[in-house]
């Protein structure tokens, strides 16, 4: 490895504008005859509108802001550069295969590749049974593909083992919403925030993970609303909040109970709402006496006065809204944490009008759509439960199969990998995920994948997970296909095709249908020739379910700013706001759930005295397979860091070794007083030696089966050498991406990345 020469000494003001270090060759300057394809961003749950700029020879070469109802021209740094994935040199353009794991991957033709998958599926299912083959999907796929993955697993493979990467994302919120409201969807369009008096944001680093959503929170504040943020770190949106609550990781339910205790004690309940629209309040009320501000202050590591203040501010608000994200969901108590927020909203009657409501902010672009049409282990299309006889009958009718042929509920994503480790699952098709980076306790995840007899992965870049597969099939980026996506509001928007897939890459739905066709089991049920045909079947399958898309058409979605489900008829306007008159349980009432705070799976002790929490940074997305290859994003944030409070005695840039019971790595320290003294943070987007998930614990929530990414016990020691982030894997014959991260020798500057103003 060569080291970057020391920077030459230059006068201030010389050559410090940020330029593309390496691949400016793939930029094409503005050309005549360009077309602009209206679409949406491929990244987070905001789903900003954008135009892709396409040259006269059909190449995507740029982006133009789009004045869509969601984002009103705004984009974040990931969105601005998203188009650079499309013609990236690292794209997979041919199927890659190997006969043994110690051989390198080699290019093969589609026939060879598809025959291999089919023969392995047959061999494994005949030898070990149908359920020995698993499908692990993702929610960055358009909804048509998510729908297809569920149908493929259940109908073509006949396996009960299908799940998706939302299991690592917002399933706690989904489960809590179902329990409390009888439906899993945010209650409001975000524009409702503008009429709110108080907004509480829990465990959501909105400024970095959903930057464009900030305009709604601050739009409310500009109109006089108060913003309360709850997070162990003072994130960019927390920095200027009216009240910031820096609680200890793993204590969210105690905090919310404490706030509700104050609301109840001060007589700020909405008794009428509780009586007429809910059930279960008495059990909640009984439990509240335990959660005095003093006790909660001790549990959460907070001044009890802060809990009083939040209780009074929330309780006295005429209109209040609460939003949360992974910060409270990634816990063994994730579902309960969400329920404790919902309890607060129900007890104060904050539903059913603009400015009043509740929602989770989905992490993945299609996090909502991807979890409601049947690729979740226990669900069928339309947010139907797979063990519900009526739901089974409906889907069997739509799919033309018998109830015997429709498998029962499967297991969750992390559990499936553990089953592979135990030898219960032998074959695997993965699409749209990168568990080598994103699943907890990486060492165990590696063992699980190692134990598979056959592993096929579909992606458009060679992820760390692809790089260890037996077979890699080249799919498409979001710009090369059409389909719908449902954002965090429950609003369905449409991706449009801007260019052809590169080389021999094929649309993901084509790949799946082709496997089904060659496999032969119900092959006629996979004769789809376009996403539109899939969407038409999805409409029928979802009809009558909670997430009813049956009244939507591609044309209607394009003509509007997107349609909120349920939309049961073509003349139905969609449903932006839920719960105006009734909740979705049969009796129309919402359910309170008494929540008892429990400590995290791993408490601190003498040997591991600090709490480790993980999360995201603004320049990167999830497992980093897409963003660790984009110049400006890598320049902004070239490597992970460990964020520590000054009181721990490290200097900024020091090598610091983080150790948990599962693993250890050395990072440069980012020393900031904006994090709790007892808490350390590592962003998780990187792989290999610096993967944060080497250290996380794989304890799961008993209901949602979400891993506890947000808290485990760790210790810090001075390190000797900072571990280098590995370059992202590339297909054979492609030069490795310049190791911008590996060559980085500067100290970390801020959680959001490196400034550009030096020099």
């Amino acid at each position: 490895m060569t080291r970057r020469p020391l920077l030459p000494v230059l006068a201030p003001g010389v050559a410090s504008f940020r330029k593309d270090a390496s691949r400016s060759g793939h930029f094409v300057s503005g050309s005549r005859g360009e077309t602009r394809v209206a679409t949406h961003c491929c990244y987070c749950g905001v789903q900003c509108g954008m135009y892709l700029r396409v040259s006269s020879d059909g190449k995507v070469f740029g982006v133009e802001p789009r004045d869509h109802d969601i984002n009103k021209l705004k984009l974040c740094p990931k969105g601005v550069t998203a188009y650079q994935q499309v013609n990236h040199a690292d794209r997979l353009t041919k199927p890659l295969m190997r006969d043994r794991r110690d051989e390198p991957l080699r290019e093969v033709g589609w026939d060879t590749a598809l025959d291999r998958v089919v023969s392995e599926i047959r061999r494994i299912q005949q030898t070990y049974g149908r359920d020995a083959f698993a499908v692990y999907s993702g929610s960055s796929l358009a909804t048509e593909k998510c729908y297809l993955m569920g149908k493929f697993a259940r109908v073509a493979l006949g396996t009960r083992h299908i799940d998706y990467n939302g299991r690592l994302c917002m399933v706690s919120a989904a489960a809590a919403n179902k329990k409390a409201f009888g439906v899993d969807r945010a209650a409001n369009p975000w524009s409702d925030m503008l009429e709110s008096d108080v907004i509480m944001l829990l465990g959501a680093n909105v400024g970095e993970c959903f930057p464009v959503a900030t305009q709604y929170f601050w739009g409310a504040r500009d109109r006089g609303a108060k913003l309360i943020t709850v997070d162990p770190r003072e994130t960019p949106i927390a920095r200027t909040a009216d009240i910031h609550v820096p609680l200890r990781p793993g204590t969210d339910a105690a905090f919310c109970n404490g706030v509700l205790h104050v609301v109840e004690r001060e007589g700020l309940l909405n008794e009428e709402f509780i009586a007429s629209r809910t059930t279960g309040w008495e059990q909640v009320r009984t439990g509240l006496s335990e959660y005095t501000p003093e006790r909660v202050g001790q549990i959460c590591g907070l001044d009890p006065g802060l809990i009083e203040k939040v209780g009074l501010t929330w309780g006295r608000a005429a209109k209040a809204m609460a939003f949360h994200a992974r910060g409270i969901e990634h816990h063994i108590q994730g579902v309960d944490n969400c329920l404790s927020v919902i309890n607060l909203c129900l007890a104060t009657g904050q539903f059913g009008a603009a400015g009043m409501g509740y929602g989770t902010i989905t992490g993945q672009g299609n996090g909502q759509g991807g979890r409601e049409h049947g690729q979740k282990s226990d669900q069928l299309p339309g947010q139907r439960m797979i063990e519900d006889p009526e739901a089974r009958a409906h889907i069997c009718r739509v799919w033309g199969i018998t109830d015997d042929e429709l498998p029962r509920a499967g297991t969750s994503a992390v559990e499936m990998v553990h089953q592979a480790e135990a030898g219960e699952i032998k074959g695997w098709i993965g699409i749209c995920n990168n568990p080598m980076v994103s699943m907890p306790d990486s060492a165990r995840i590696n063992r699980g994948y190692d134990a598979l007899e056959f592993h096929c992965q579909i992606d458009f870049f060679l992820s760390e997970t692809c790089a260890r597969a037996d077979l890699v099939l080249p799919g498409t980026s979001w710009a090369e296909d059409e389909g719908v996506s449902t954002n965090a509001e429950g609003r369905v928007v449409k991706y449009n095709k801007a260019s052809e897939p590169p080389g021999d890459a094929r649309p993901d739905w084509w790949i799946i249908c082709e496997i089904a066709r060659r496999l032969g089991r119900h092959a006629d049920k996979f004769a789809f020739s376009s996403p539109r045909e899939l969407f038409e079947e999805l409409r029928v399958a979802s009809a009558g379910g909670q997430a009813d898309y049956s009244g939507m058409t591609y044309e209607r979605i394009e003509e509007t700013g997107g349609i909120f489900w349920p939309c049961p008829a073509e003349d139905h306007p969609g449903t932006p706001r839920l719960f105006g008159e009734r909740f979705h349980h049969p009796d129309g009432r919402a359910r309170f759930h008494a929540v008892e705070w429990r400590p995290p799976a791993e408490e601190v002790d003498r040997k591991y005295p600090l709490r480790l929490t993980t999360g995201r940074t603004v320049a990167h997305y999830l497992s980093g397979n897409q963003t660790r290859r984009i110049d400006s994003l890598v320049q902004q944030t070239p490597r992970p860091w460990v964020e520590v409070h000054p009181s721990l005695g490290f200097a900024n840039g020091d090598p610091v070794t983080v150790t948990t019971r599962r693993g250890s790595a050395t990072y440069p320290a980012l020393v900031v007083s904006s994090i709790r003294e007892d808490t350390v943070f590592i962003p998780y987007h990187w792989a290999g030696r610096v993967a944060a998930n080497l250290m996380t614990v794989d304890a799961l929530d008993p209901t949602s089966r979400i891993p506890e990414f947000k808290v485990c016990a760790c210790r810090l020691e001075p390190g000797s050498k900072i571990d280098e982030p590995p370059a992202p894997p590339v297909p054979p014959g492609v030069a490795e991406y310049p190791r911008v991260g590996g060559l980085d020798r500067e100290e970390p500057s801020a959680p959001q990345g490196r400034g550009t103003g030096r020099g």
Partner: protein, 198 residues
């Protein structure tokens, strides 16, 4: 005097660098960002601030005044352009003259680069790239009235003191209401300028 200007509000900057990424997308300097994004409170908070060309109006553009070859154009609308590639000799006078530290010199090309307010876009009624994408309107492009409609408490500062030297600028920095001294050495005469304008 332009009717529309950039208003820079450091209180709203989340440091995400969407502006930096977007600046690189401008057709006239694709692949190169002209924005200085500083984390101004390192070690204590996530505070950040973008610096773009302020388009000095009085005295007009110190950068242009000191250019020995008159390479920096100043439009009748007050927009101070990037140095013309045909004329620029890479002497760096502009770099030293700018009170805000905006222009930079590319020593390999021996050319100056700086923000020209996305002239190719703004002259056609499009928003400059940075202000278009900025998720929080920390970079807001519009008239002062439009700004006040969105943020009634906003106060624009567009006169800055550097020692003995006073500089009035086309673009402005937003300070919270009632804090005329919020920007060190800077204060607001925006409303007076706006009246002169009308």
């Amino acid at each position: 005097m332009r009717s529309k200007n950039l208003f820079i509000d450091p209180g709203r900057c989340i440091g995400c660098q969407a502006c930096v990424a977007a600046c690189r997308e401008c057709d006239s300097h694709k692949g190169r960002s002209m924005i200085h994004l500083d984390y101004v409170d390192m070690g204590s908070s996530t505070a950040a601030m973008p610096t773009v060309c302020m388009h000095c109006s009085d005295p007009v553009a110190p950068c242009a005044q000191v250019c020995p070859v008159d390479a920096i154009p100043v439009g009748s609308d007050g927009v101070v352009g990037t140095a013309s590639a045909e004329l620029c000799i890479g002497c760096g006078n502009c770099v030293h003259a700018c009170p805000f530290g905006v222009p930079k010199l590319d020593v390999a090309e021996m050319l100056q680069y700086k923000c020209d307010l996305c002239y190719d876009r703004s002259s056609q009624g499009l928003l400059p790239m940075c202000a278009s994408v900025c998720p929080t309107d920390a970079l807001f492009y519009g008239t002062y009235d439009e700004l006040l409609q969105k943020r009634p408490s906003a106060q624009a500062v567009d006169v800055f003191e550097f020692g003995e030297q006073m500089i009035a600028t086309g673009n402005a920095v937003v300070a919270p209401a009632g804090r005329n001294d919020a920007i060190p050495g800077g204060y607001s005469v925006w409303s007076e300028l706006a009246q002169d304008d009308s």
